[in-house]
Amino acid sequence: MALVGPEPIDIGSLIDEVSSLERGGTVVFIGSVRRGPEDGPVAAIEYSAYEEMAEQEFGRILTVARDRWPAAGLAARHRLGTLPTGTPSIAVAASAPHRADAFEAARWVIEEAKRHLPIWKREQFDDGTRSWREA
């Protein structure tokens, strides 16, 4: 299952991937293309990646998380391509027997992904101009 790619993110199937009878708590994080007052007139964001490396790095992040939260179920996706505002670009699901672990694991994975995945954003504005957004 590709962690990084152009396919729309299916939240339901992400939840199914991490669910099991022993895991009573599931946390899903969904990051979407935002257009708020601080963002300017963003129409869409183009996500591009060093795909082979992003896939490998995301896999490693999940491996480390599984080691830290051995009872947890974890799944994640990062979508690539031109995504209009409101569209989910990244999602992480974490389930665990107890909810504190599910919250912590989901939070940890999203923070690591934001920090380490070789993925770039170019904003497209309403007037057709584009600009790279670097952290």
Binding site: P118, K121, W132
Partner: protein
């Protein structure tokens, strides 16, 4: 030796393409590769003097000694998510 250089996002835009072959003497480092690139004409001369790099998909430093056939990737500041 031959190194495959890959450029992403803003760097690919600067270069006008996302991949090129670079010919370097044996034992050249990542730093040597950057210097060789920046002496070229066109967009390459506008590349930053220091860049985040990966060799064969692993983050590394400028002192890393390259091998023939390596894939050297230049990564603009990350902004995933």
């Amino acid at each position: 030796m031959t190194i495959t250089c890959r450029f992403f996002a803003r760097y690919a835009e600067l270069m006008g393409h996302d991949e090129l072959e670079l010919f370097l003497p044996p034992s050249a480092t990542v730093r040597d590769a950057i210097d060789a690139l920046r002496q070229r004409s066109g967009g390459a001369s506008a590349l930053p003097e220091t860049m985040l790099v990966a060799v064969n998909r692993e983050h590394t430093r400028e002192t890393h000694v390259l091998d023939d056939g390596d894939e050297l990737a230049f990564l603009p500041p990350l902004a995933g998510g």
